[in-house]
Amino acid sequence: MDDNRQPVSRTLQGIGVSPGIAAARVLVMKRHAWRAGWRHLPDDHVEKEVERFLLAIRTAGAELAQLREKLAADLADALSIIDSHLLMLKDKMIIERTVAIIRRNSVNAEWALAQALSEIKERFEQIDDRYIRERYADIKHVADRVFGLLTGREHDGLGGDDLPVILVANDFSPEDALRMQAGNVLGFLTEKGGVTSHTAIVARSLNIPAVVGLEHATSILATGDLIILDGRTGQVTLHPEPSEIRRRQEGNRRNHAKADDLDRYIHLASETEDGYVVRLSANIEMRQELPAVLRYGSEGIGLFRSEFDYFQGQEPPSEEQLLATYRQLLETMAPHPVTVRTLDVGGDKFLHSFPGNGAWLDQERNPALGLRSIRFSLYERDLFRIQLRALLRASVYGRLRILLPLVSALNEVRQAKAVIAGVMEQLAEESTPFAANVEIGMMVEVPSAVVMADVFAREVDFFAIGTNDLIQYSLAIDRGNQYVAHLYEPFHPAVLRMIRQTVEAGHASNIPVSLCGEMAGDGLCAPVLMGLGLDELSMRPAVIPRIKRMLRHSRSNELRNLARQTLECEDSERVREFLAATLPHFYPKDFYQS
């Protein structure tokens, strides 16, 4: 086509799940449906067909081996997935069976492979054990790779070329996600998925910008199209103006240079120039994120969201399953603390497990104010006890802190502590070991908890301020509602005063106060939070080095002055103006473009 017009720039909206900006050409990975046409071969073509199949197997093996080479040695889980895929690729049920079918029926390799695979599928479908049965997905994945090579799929960018790309797909497999670690992937975009999808979690822990849930992305975009992807806002700009790209790419280079400098901070203590310590810990939701937690020098886990285990199957997880997760967290992080938040969801997620309770769930017209979090745990006590048993049994492997979410009244803390005491008694009777000194704390995320913080401080061992919910509840803003989302404002002086009040109440009773929420990892907020006296800030692992650098370039009296002056501002606009004018003097590397 002879067409000199510049394609018109257009903007698409997805869900931003891993912040950062990437500008690059896209590589669209279409997962072909199995369309293995049957082709009869003349006799003298049969052996050639066998050769063609074996070549595809060797090539697939080489691709996997190459991917394995590029992976960091600390991603043990990932390496072992690839090892098992390599073995499946060489398995006689795939190779020998396919070759036999080609020879016996004089048919093309694609059809023979599809046959072999359906035989394997049949065998696996008879397996009762769900976990093993589901390994069929891996086999299918390996076969897909061979099938793609046989049918001459587009080269998928795995080979030697190192042109940076943004990957676009319906969804990603383990290898796809890991390949992003391998260097030339600047971002990714999927049609499926939400904020808590597996893909999103992997992207955040690898620190790669990602947008998910953009419908029809693989049809709208074609390999080679230039896009700018913003993993924070979820915005994707197709065919951006050249000036726009230059501006963004410039920003990208600076980010890379910054990252190199930040590596130096990973192993340094998290303290100010004058030795004032603020613990910097990680927020995570899967144990698979532990390598990232260690890589970025986190001193503990400030918030483990325990929900993931609950949404893996139809049934809630067993005590043993939960124990395996908690034990790994504690053993890996010891002697640093691991703070596990007990189940923080609404009952609607469990509808299938509690059929008799469907009635009350149907009535929930206001889920944010409904039966959720600690209220749900106290309502479904058996479920709560299973989680507590797993937690307490894990407590001997490290330093455990149990965190109760969404506490709004003293009675809830007392009831929860009574349930915990009951579980401890039961464990003691069974002679099951647990640590007697497990710390029990509460989330401060409901305004009533802030107002009554001095009273709560006498009941618990620590406070964790959850700013995401605290802001929503105190400003009456639903962040998911596009008409009011702009009113969601961390720098609202009311929010800052609530944080100060909670810290003061905690310290008056000699208990530590942490803050977990997006504010903790935000360069503009963090110095103010440090100055407000928080003992611990918990954030996404990847941002820890940057926040640590700010801390190490601070003096404690300066931080306190900064917090004091910030609290004198009468509205959020003044707060932002003040910080924008003040912070660059203290932290030139974070605010000036070098």
Partner: protein
């Protein structure tokens, strides 16, 4: 040639899943032995990860394991460790 055989009980909570089966195949190749698992009437070779998986050995399954080769004893010890351990390798 040495032959080693032993009756074992699967210890892993999730049964002989992908990672365990992968390690068993590696043991067979590292020690250059023929490593077989028999459960009731069915016998499979550990070199085929898919065969091993399709036996669907859950925790508590009783199996017979046989290793044949120069290093059968060492291979058997490694295989037994993998099969009976409660932890993932």
């Amino acid at each position: 040639m040495t032959t080693c055989a032993s009756d074992l009980v699967v210890g892993n909570e999730r049964g002989i899943h992908g990672r365990v089966a992968t390690r068993l195949a590696e043991v067979a190749s590292e020690f250059a032995v023929v490593l077989q698992i028999r459960r009731a009437e069915e016998t499979v070779e550990c070199s085929s990860i898919l065969d091993v998986l399709s036996l669907a050995l859950v925790q508590g399954s009783e199996i017979s394991v046989q290793a044949v080769g120069e290093q059968a004893e060492a291979a058997m010890a490694a295989a037994a460790e993998l099969i009976t351990a409660q932890e993932d390798p």
